[in-house]
Amino acid sequence: MKYLLMIYSDEAAEATMTEADNAAEMAAYGAYAGAMVEAGVMVGGERLRPTTDATCVRLRNGQTELLNGPYADTREQLGGYFMIEVPDLDAALHWAARCPTAPHGTIEVRPVWEM
């Protein structure tokens, strides 16, 4: 089954990380993504620009409205995702727990609605 791992963390806290910590986290992400590729579970994934770069689009009463910023103001923000393909939720949770953001952020694991 396919699962989307949505990686949430506090952007403000991440912005204040030291260069060394940041480099270590990036290296950890490289290793994490590599391990998922080696295990044959990786479908894809990307890091996202911060929510200050987000724009929301909606159509109301025939009018297109554009809003700067994220859809919802939350304590932690979506900062990236991985799509993985694994046998079941247990396996997906094991991969989510290994995400370098898990110790300080939250990984939301969502099964893909198979069509």
């Binding site: 290793a31 994490y32 391990a35 080696e38 295990a39 247990d90 094991h94 727990a97 370098p100 898990a102």
Partner: protein, 433 residues
């Protein structure tokens, strides 16, 4: 189903009634569940009834004082709930047995002499039911944590990395299986005891292993699984003091527990076993483990059939590591021999991995890497962090920098614990001199 985690929630408010209820809950939860479910085999109903009884105690004890025999009070209250519940369902339940049982309980509850203070201990029988071969191996430890210690599904799910809702469903199904398929609440006969006891001990050790890998003190809300597993292991060893493997498991867990604090330095950084400050090992706990291991060994070799098992051998490995606090170096030749014996016994790839690591200490990195190469491609090790970390270390020591780097990357990507991950990243960047 009512919240079965009565024991964990009680005691938020201060006061002697609450404190007493909490103390009884922690000490007696499994004992009361075992007794309540021993004959009906209906664990879910027993949990609901006991949760209600704890709630009643929280309401009653602060006002009327703590009863003379709190356990008996709770037992009586829980039995009343069970009787009420069974009466409501009576029409479509297997009536005769239940009714007879309820009659006995009703009589006991109204006995003018009061309920007996001494509560028979059926916990061992409950453990054997939880670890019955008809219960999926992966659910035995969770079932024990719930029925003997009152953990809720969310806490168990967190420990075993299973979604809380999924864990809840699996627990419900396992309990229903115990009831529907007639899994007995009994210590098995001698002929079957060895294998069945092995399943009980495996489940206790699974609890310990999950608790051990969780870094100490990161979550004050989460009960310390390692200590709870030690308590369970102590219970089995107390109730089966002549079983060498029960003593062996307790010794193994005590050895590991004694080193628990030394796994982190003052800054919270991970410290591998070989570099731990032995003065930070709990000497008293290690001595107790040694004593248990010696007693297990004496028992194992005494009978007509040798009963040296996996847990005694693993405890002996820990003992050989512990030698470092006296001699300054671990007894690596003994460790290698013990892993040989363990590998013959279990055929486990993890044991083979540990054996290879020990080989590096006695024969050097090249033979150790050769031993690891024979495990290459074993699917059970592909996502196992220690395998890649060991490989990386050996490759690095042999000067194969590129291969070492790739193996470190794999290990880092598979690690959950941020402190261990940071340690591996450090090793990857700065090879040991």
């Amino acid at each position: 189903m009512a919240d079965a985690d009565a024991s964990a929630d009680i005691g938020a408010d201060a006061g002697p009634g609450h404190a007493a209820a909490e103390a009884v809950a922690r000490r007696s939860y499994g004992k009361l569940i075992a007794l309540l479910a021993a004959r009906t085999r209906d664990l879910a109903a027993a949990e609901d009834a006991l949760a209600d009884a704890f709630a009643a105690a929280l309401a009653d004890w602060p006002r009327h004082g703590i009863p003379h025999t709190p356990e008996a009070w709770l037992l009586t209250a829980a039995r009343r709930r069970l009787i009420d519940g069974a009466r409501a369902r009576r029409t479509h339940d297997h009536a005769a047995d239940t009714l007879r049982l309820l009659g006995e309980w009703a009589q006991a509850a109204t006995d003018p002499a009061g309920p007996r203070a001494e509560i028979p201990d059926h916990r061992l029988a409950l453990m054997f039911a939880c670890a019955h071969p008809a219960i999926a191996a992966g659910m035995r430890a969770p079932l024990m944590l719930q029925t003997l210690l009152g953990f809720d599904a969310a806490a168990i799910g967190s420990a075993f990395l299973v979604a809380p809702a999924t864990m809840g469903q699996r627990l419900v199904r396992a309990k229903s299986r115990i009831r529907q398929t007639g899994i007995p609440f009994a210590v098995p006969p001698l002929a079957a005891l060895g294998e069945r006891l092995g399943a009980v001990l495996d489940a206790v050790y699974a609890c310990y292993a999950e608790g051990w890998s969780a870094p100490a003190g990161t979550d004050a809300q989460r009960r310390n699984l390692a200590e709870e597993a030690l308590w369970l292991g102590g219970l089995v060893a107390t109730l089966m003091p002549e079983e060498p493997e029960a003593l062996g498991l307790l010794a193994l867990m005590l050895f590991a527990q004694a080193r628990r604090a030394a796994r982190r330095d003052e800054a919270g950084r991970y410290v591998p076993l070989a570099e731990q400050d032995t003065t930070r090992w709990d000497a008293r706990m290690m001595d107790e483990a040694e004593r248990l291991l010696r007693r297990a060994g004496a028992l194992a070799l005494a009978g007509p059939v040798q009963r040296v098992g996996r847990f005694q051998l693993e405890a002996a490995v820990q003992s050989a590591h512990g030698v470092r606090r006296l001699r300054g170096t671990a007894d690596w030749p003994a460790i290698t021999r013990l892993y040989d014996a363990l590998h013959q016994l279990t055929g486990s790839p993890v044991v083979a991995l540990n054996r290879a690591v020990a080989l590096a200490e006695t024969q050097g990195p090249a033979p150790a890497l050769a031993a690891l190469d024979t495990l290459d491609g074993d699917a059970r090790l592909a996502d196992y962090q220690p395998y890649w970390a060991a490989r990386a270390d050996l490759l690095q020591r042999l000067g194969q920098a590129a291969a070492a780097d790739a193996a470190y990357a794999r290990a880092i990507g598979l690690e959950r614990d941020p402190a261990v991950r940071a340690f591996l990243q450090q090793r990857r960047a700065v090879p040991l001199g």
